[in-house]
C-alpha cells in the first residue's frame, strides 16, 4: 500500500524538473531496474535555498525523489547530511515493501550531491 502522502507526491510531483542555478547536482541509478533520481540543490550560506528533482522510475522512486526535495528545502546542509532512509520514510509514509528501494536511491542521490560517501 502507498500512504496518502506518497500518492500525493506521485500525483503532484512538487519541485520537479531541473534547476539552472544549482550549486550541487548528482544522480543515483539502480543498475538492475534502471530507476534514476537526479537532484539539484542551490546551497547558499550553508542552507538549501532551492531544490529540484528529476526521476525516471517506479512510483516508489518518484515518491522518494519528490519527498526528499520537501525534506531538504530551506534546511541547513549539515541537517541534510544527516538524513537517512528512515527519516525519508517517515516523511513519505508507507510504500509497498517491494518499492522501498526508491528510498535508498533518493538518499544515495542526496549523499552524492553533498559529496559524502555511501550509506
Amino acid at each position: 500500500m502507498y500512504s496518502y502522502r506518497a500518492r500525493r507526491l506521485i500525483a503532484e510531483m512538487p519541485n520537479r524538473g531541473s534547476l539552472a542555478d544549482a550549486t550541487h547536482s548528482a544522480q543515483a541509478e539502480n543498475p538492475v531496474c534502471g530507476d534514476i533520481i537526479k537532484l539539484y540543490l542551490r546551497i547558499e550560506e550553508d542552507v538549501v535555498q532551492d531544490v529540484r528533482f528529476e526521476c525516471r522510475g517506479c512510483p516508489g522512486a518518484m515518491a522518494a525523489a519528490a519527498g526528499i526535495t520537501e525534506l531538504v528545502k530551506a534546511k541547513p546542509a549539515a541537517e541534510c547530511r544527516a538524513l537517512d532512509v528512515e527519516a525519508l520514510e517517515a516523511h513519505v509514509g508507507q510504500l509497498p515493501l517491494h518499492k522501498r528501494h526508491g528510498l535508498e536511491l533518493a538518499i544515495d542521490a542526496l549523499r552524492s550531491c553533498l559529496g559524502i560517501g555511501d550509506r
Binding site: Y2, A6, R7, R8, I10, A11, E12, M13, R16, G17, S18, A26, Q27, E29, N30, V32, C33, G34, D35, I36, K38, F53, E54, C55, R56, G57, C58, P59, G60, M62, A65, A66, L97, H98, K99, H101
Partner: protein
Amino acid sequence: MHPVYLDNNATTPVDPEVYEAMTPFLREEYGNASSAHERGQRARKAVEESRSQVAELLGCPEREVMFTSGGTEADNLAVWGLAMRYRDRGTHIVTCKIEHPAVLRTCEVLENDGFQVTYLDAAPDGIVSPDDVAQATREDTILVSVMYVNNETGTVQPLSEIAEVARKKGALVHTDAVQAAGKIPVDVKQLGVDLLSISAHKLHGPKGVGALFVKEGVEVVPWMLGGSHERGRRGGTENVPGIVGLGKACNVATRRLDEFQSVIGGLRDRLEEGILESISGTHVNGSRTARAPHVTNISFDGIGGEALLVALDFQGVAVSTGAACAAGSISLSHVLSAMSIPEERIKGAIRFSLGRFTNTEDIDYVLRILPDLVERAREAAPKTTD
C-alpha cells in the same frame, strides 16, 4: 474527486440483478444440489437453470456446460485434462505467448511431463496468424489453445480460422474466452471450438465461479477428484450461490450484448480519441479494428505507467499497467513483449478497461485530469543523465 473504475478486465462490480438472484442461495436456500430432499432439489433446479443461461450465452446445449471455480480452473482443466486424456494420440500442444498464465503455466507443467509445446508469437497488432497455427500444428498435435480476446489489449483473435486449420490437422481446440463472454458474441458452433473457458467475475458476476464448455464427445481427465459431480468431470459440492450468480450474469449479458457493444464501445472510443488528441506521444497497443469494445491499451512516451497508475489512483481513477517494478527488477507485460513492442513503450503502457456501469461522466473526468498528470510526469523525467 470523482471515483472512476476503469479496471474491469481485472474484475467487475456485481450487477444488482445478479446479487438479487444469488441472495436466497446464501440464506434460506442452502441445500446441497446433490441431496434427494426437496431443499436439495430446489438447489439442483437452480443449478440447472443457471447451466441453461450459460448455454444460451455460448450457443450450446446445457449438457456441454460444466461449472468450475473460475477461469483459471477452466483453463487448467481444459489444457491439462485434455492432454492427460489424449496423450496416447500425441504429446504436442500449440498455444501462443499472449495467453493468460492459467494456460501458459499449465503448458509448462505438461512440458515437464513429456509434452512438447509450441508457443507462437503475436504480430505487432496482437493477432496470432492462422497460417502460423497451421504451420505449427503437426500430426501429433492434440490441442491448439488460443485465447479469444486478450485481457491486456482487447485484441480479438481470428479464432474460427484458427480452429478450422487446427481441426483439419486433427487437433482439438480450446479458447480462453474469459474477456470475450458478455463483451462480443461467443457462439461455440460458429467459432468451431471444442472447449471454451469463461469466468463470472469478468462479466458482472461473483468471484470464484466459472464454466468450461466441453463439446459432446470430448473428454477431459478430472482435475479435482471427489464425487461424480458435473458428470464425473469435477468432484466437489456445487457452489450454488456462485453458479446462480454466473447464470444470471450470463442471462443479463445475453440480453444486453448489443447495448454493451454500442454504448461501451462508444465510450471506449471517446476515451481513446480524447487521449490521443489531447496528449502527444501516445500510442494504442494492439489492433484498433479486431478488438473487443471495452478495452484500450495506451502507451505514454517518456513516463512510467506504474507511476501514472498511482497518480490516477490518487485522483480516484483505477486502471492497470503493462509493467511493474518489484524490489528493483522490472517485470514487463508478457503480452506486449510478445507483440514486439519496445521496452520503453511497455513501461509507459496503461490499460483502461470499461464495464457495463462506465458512463460518459467517468470518461470525461479522466480526459479532464489525465493531461496534467502526464505533463507533470514528463516534466519530472530526466532530460539528460550523467
